[in-house]
């Protein structure tokens, strides 16, 4: 029995080597945050994004004027101390309307992105894991759906079902989820061939457990960045729908709708179009820049990422 005791001693000594002892490295989230803080572009973008979110939350309380109040005596006024962004063709305060104009868009697109990410990534990861014939067929269907001009498709659905917040969330969420499938599947394929997935299969884990426990944590990085990008795209899509009159129902203020309403008077009152447009583009740019910086901080190679 002394022999086995000897083995035990050497092995114990092996486990107590100095190489892996010492301080535990920081958590990954801390590392990513540190890395992001080094990039000025990321910090500016994140601040703008945060500002937009805070404004959207607090807009009803910080708006100096009632955003639906029409004032026939005070139409098309240029920016002044009373109306910082001027007034529009109905005499409404553009500043208050701009503050309020992002609420509906943010609400619908955030919910829509969440839905798109949820169903898109789960479908994509599952397809990547299953492979074979199902994968092939579903991916061909995805290709076909992606080939349809999305705006026309959305208009068609919304005009059939009707214009409501829920319809918008569902249609946008469904449509953008299709693109997420591709990304999630592509990211999954990198990991499916690894032995830890094989180990789980040999162990007899169900496919659902493998998707949730083994694959999802590994593709989450790519998915988070993809989600941010999808969000920016969806904001643009939502504003386009509003612009065309299929998004928000007047008199609720919305940037896309505001741009549509005032575009005819742009030569007389450019402020009425300029400020909502600026608000929309600054939000989208800040999301895009944040997503890029986030991806870089997590060590994702966007050039290699599947489209």
């Amino acid at each position: 029995m002394t022999d086995s005791a000897a083995i035990e001693n050497t092995a114990l000594a092996a486990s107590q080597s100095q190489s892996t002892q010492g301080r535990t490295p920081q958590k990954r989230s801390v590392q990513v945050w540190r890395s992001m803080r080094r990039s000025p572009a990321a910090m500016i973008a994140l601040s703008i994004l945060a500002l937009h979110l805070i404004i959207a939350l607090l807009a009803p309380w910080i708006s100096p004027w009632d955003w639906t109040l029409q004032n026939g005596y005070n139409m098309l006024q240029p920016p002044s101390a009373a109306h910082w962004f001027g007034t529009d063709n109905m005499g409404r305060d553009v500043f208050s309307r701009t503050l309020m104009g992002g609420r509906e868009a943010l609400k619908v697109t955030l919910l829509g992105t969440l839905l798109a990410m949820l169903w898109g990534s789960l479908t994509g990861i599952t397809l990547g894991l299953l492979g074979g014939r199902i994968d092939e067929w579903v991916m061909r269907a995805v290709d076909a759906l992606l080939a349809i001009p999305w705006l026309l498709f959305l208009l068609l659905i919304i005009s059939t079902i009707g214009q409501s917040g829920l319809t918008l969330v569902l249609t946008l969420g469904f449509f953008y989820g299709i693109a997420v499938i591709r990304v999630a599947r592509g990211a999954t394929l990198d990991f499916v061939a690894r032995d830890f997935v094989m180990a789980a299969r040999v162990r007899g884990e169900s496919n659902w457990t493998i998707v949730r426990q083994e694959l999802l944590p590994n593709v989450l990085d790519s998915l988070l960045v993809e989600g941010a990008m999808r969000w920016a795209w969806m904001l643009l899509a939502f504003s386009s729908l509003s612009f065309l009159g299929f998004g928000v129902v007047p008199p609720t203020p919305d940037w896309g709708l505001m741009i549509a309403d005032t575009r005819g008077i742009m030569s007389i009152a450019p402020w009425a179009t300029l400020f909502p447009a600026l608000a929309l583009s600054s939000l989208i740019i800040s999301i895009n820049l944040s997503a890029d910086a986030f991806g870089k901080a997590m060590g994702l190679d966007r050039a290699k990422a599947p489209v």
Partner: protein, 694 residues
């Protein structure tokens, strides 16, 4: 076509030490320190050394072997000999001189001309270093254009000459082929031919045979020995495998933690190593002749660039004294060699004692696993093919009959593509067999894993080759161990954590590992976690797929001991795959030899290794290299790899050195039972025994 070497067996060159070679050093490394700048989070920077104070002279015409565990700076040193630094690297001190020029002081253009022309590199993975979209002729022409003075019209002739030099069959046709149409061994030969295009003075070989089959490796080494003799090229040979180094080197340089800790002639280092690290390394290598497990070298090498005071090896040294923690030893001469150790000379001169660890006694019980006429194939016949009555394609693996008892270890041995992993995949239910029966006790294992019941799933577990890949990088060790505990026993929460800690204790790891991520563990520790995970299900059968081949030798010995000890405690049966036959010899009770998915020979490890009767077993065992300067591999047939098993006849018909004739082509030989072994060959067993003695 069979390649015949003129210098098979031992020739007069080699292992003559430094005396026989011309004494002018070609390359001189003078107190070289390489490293990089580390940026700390608080904005400070510090220099981290990867190579420390390395001095080495390489003489004309000699082969110098660089050995050491991974992360010890072997490759960094070899690349420095090309004047190359990895990204972010910098010279912290010292010089590398080629003749009179200092490489790191050369302008880029001169350095580029020197690389490939005067000093050429042969990389580890030839398949990846050849351009996949260019024909070999074009790639060789490119190398000739860059590194030779030949006129363009002579490129083709010279390319054919080079391919003939590296003993590739029908070189004219090869020029028109693409790299993927060649086998691994052939690709490596082409890489050697390309390196020789510029007629370099010095060849740097970075693990050129790692990843090749035993027989292919032996052939490539024989080729390199021959080239060295014929062309007088100086070689720097980097390898972690002391068997390879022993075969080719005149001198050996042992690296540890970026330092050169011992330098001496091949025979000296292998027979009477001085430095405690070299001793430990040699003792940790499993040997074919020994009936014991190798002794493990405790601990792990320090992380790359880790700073230390005193001797780098002090933490693992068996002779450590308080002095070693403080005083960094200098490179001092000990007879004809250089050693970097604080120990007094008489102690360094003590002879090497290879004390193995006796294999723990395991009681072999009743039969557990049986395979009966199992055939596996990756291609499935489509319905259309069935309707048209097309014959099934030849199965990847066919006619496998094996049995395994409780507490027993059976090793599957063969070259890559011999179906070892395929058999494992069919036992664990990933790729169920096409024909035949697999049984665990009396329960069928033919079903795919999804259709097996929970108990059956639990009873068969698998350990993978590379723990980096088999542990999910995003899970902590506790989460990794919780998965099987939850799946098989429904354990959660504190009970699960306690059980996980218990499992870690079984593989000799402390409880504090539970909250770490795999990336925070060393290779050996990761493999221990992977082993703990397989034992979580309290299995009866464990499939071990090359479990030690991704580990360093010193760590490998400890893992082998652990596996054997767990087997003694739990009475599990192991089905073991390893390409290293010495590892098989150390751990397996019985061995089954496979070629092209068919069994050739099976028997007790001791009998089979002592007297390999089947011509394939003989070929395989004779090609094994050992860390012994006097050991010579014997090469029987050529190393042409086959991609498809023959449709009929003996699977080994194409490469067999003892082939009889048409009988071997057409008829599958029957099993012959003799002296506890069974083998499949047309030559009567008694006659084979006779042939062995010649």
């Amino acid at each position: 076509m069979n390649t015949v070497y003129t210098n098979i067996g031992h020739t007069s060159t080699g292992h003559t030490g430094t005396g026989a070679v011309n004494n002018a050093p070609v390359l001189r490394v003078e107190n070289l320190s390489l490293g990089y700048t580390r940026h700390h989070t608080d904005g400070r920077t510090s220099k981290v050394a990867v190579l420390r104070d390395v001095s080495l002279q390489i003489h004309k015409g000699e082969v110098i072997g660089l050995v050491g565990e991974s992360g010890c700076g072997k490759s960094t040193l070899a690349l420095a000999l090309l004047g190359f630094l990895r990204g972010g690297g910098e010279v912290l001190g010292g010089k590398v001189r080629y003749g009179k020029t200092s490489l790191f002081d050369l302008p880029d253009a001169d350095l580029a001309a020197l690389r490939g022309g005067d000093i050429a590199l042969i990389p580890q993975n030839a398949g990846q270093s050849l351009t996949p979209t260019m024909k070999l002729g074009a790639q060789l022409a490119e190398a000739l254009k860059l590194h030779s003075d030949l006129p363009q019209g002579q490129y083709r002739a010279r390319a054919i000459e080079l391919l003939t030099l590296v003993r590739l069959p029908s070189p004219e046709q090869l020029l028109e082929r693409y790299p993927h149409q060649l086998s691994g061994g052939q690709q490596q030969r082409v890489a050697i031919a390309m390196a020789l295009a510029g007629e370099p003075d010095v060849l740097l070989l970075d693990e050129p045979t790692t990843g090749l089959d035993v027989t292919t490796q032996a052939h490539i080494l024989e080729l390199l020995r021959e080239l060295r003799q014929r062309l007088g090229t100086t070689m720097v040979f980097v390898s972690h495998d002391l068997g390879v180094i022993a075969r080719i080197s005149d001198r050996i340089a042992v690296m540890y933690a970026g330092e050169l800790i011992e330098l001496g002639s091949c025979a000296e280092i292998l027979r009477s190593p001085a430095h405690p690290y070299t001793r430990g390394l040699l003792a940790a290598i499993p040997r074919l002749a020994s009936g014991m497990l190798p002794a493990a070298l405790p601990g792990y090498p320090p992380a790359v660039g880790a700073r230390h005071q005193g001797c780098a090896f002090a933490a693992r040294c068996s002779h450590v004294s308080p002095d070693c923690q403080e005083r960094t030893p200098d490179q001092t001469a000990l007879g004809t060699r250089q050693v970097r150790c604080n120990l007094p000379a008489p102690q360094l001169r003590q002879p090497l004692q290879l004390e193995g660890v006796p294999v723990p006694e395991v009681t072999v019980g009743e039969p557990l696993l049986s395979l009966d006429q199992v055939a596996v194939s990756y291609q499935q016949q489509s319905l259309w093919q069935k309707l048209r009555g097309q014959p099934e394609s030849t199965a990847t693996v066919d006619g496998i009959e094996l049995s395994l008892k409780r507490g027993e270890t059976l090793a599957l041995v063969g070259e890559s593509g011999s179906g070892k992993s395929t058999i494992m995949r069919s036992i664990c239910g990933i790729n169920p067999p096409r024909r035949g029966h697999i049984q665990l006790d009396d329960q069928p294992l033919n079903l795919p894993v999804e259709k097996r019941d929970a108990v059956l799933k639990r009873r068969v577990q698998m350990i993978f080759q590379n723990p980096d890949a088999s542990l999910n990088p995003r899970h902590t060790i506790a989460e990794i161990l919780a998965q099987p505990l939850k799946l098989y026993f429904g354990l959660t929460g504190a009970a699960c954590r306690a059980k996980a800690a218990e499992l870690l204790a079984q593989v000799r790891l402390g409880e504090h590992y539970l909250d770490r991520l795999p990336a925070q563990l060393s290779g050996g520790e990761k493999q221990r976690v992977a082993i703990a995970r397989t034992f979580a299900g309290e299995p009866d059968l464990i499939l071990c797929d090359e479990v030690t081949s991704a580990l360093d030798v010193s760590v490998q010995a400890a893992v082998l001991q652990l596996l054997k000890q767990l087997q003694a405690e739990r009475g599990v049966a192991y089905l073991f795959i390893a390409h290293d036959l010495a590892v098989v010899q150390a751990i397996a009770d019985r061995v089954a030899v496979l070629y092209q998915g068919r069994l050739c020979e099976e028997g007790e490890t001791r009998d089979l290794f002592a007297a390999p009767w089947h011509p394939y077993t003989e070929t395989l065992l004779d090609a094994v290299l050992q860390p012994d300067p006097d050991h010579n591999p014997k090469l029987h047939s050529d190393d042409a790899a086959e991609s498809q098993p023959p449709a009929q006849g003996c699977p080994f018909q194409n490469r067999c050195p003892r082939k009889l004739g048409s009988q071997c082509d057409n008829e599958l030989p029957d099993w012959q039972q003799i002296r506890g072994k069974r083998l499949r060959c047309h030559i009567p067993a008694r006659q084979l025994i006779g042939l062995q003695r010649v």
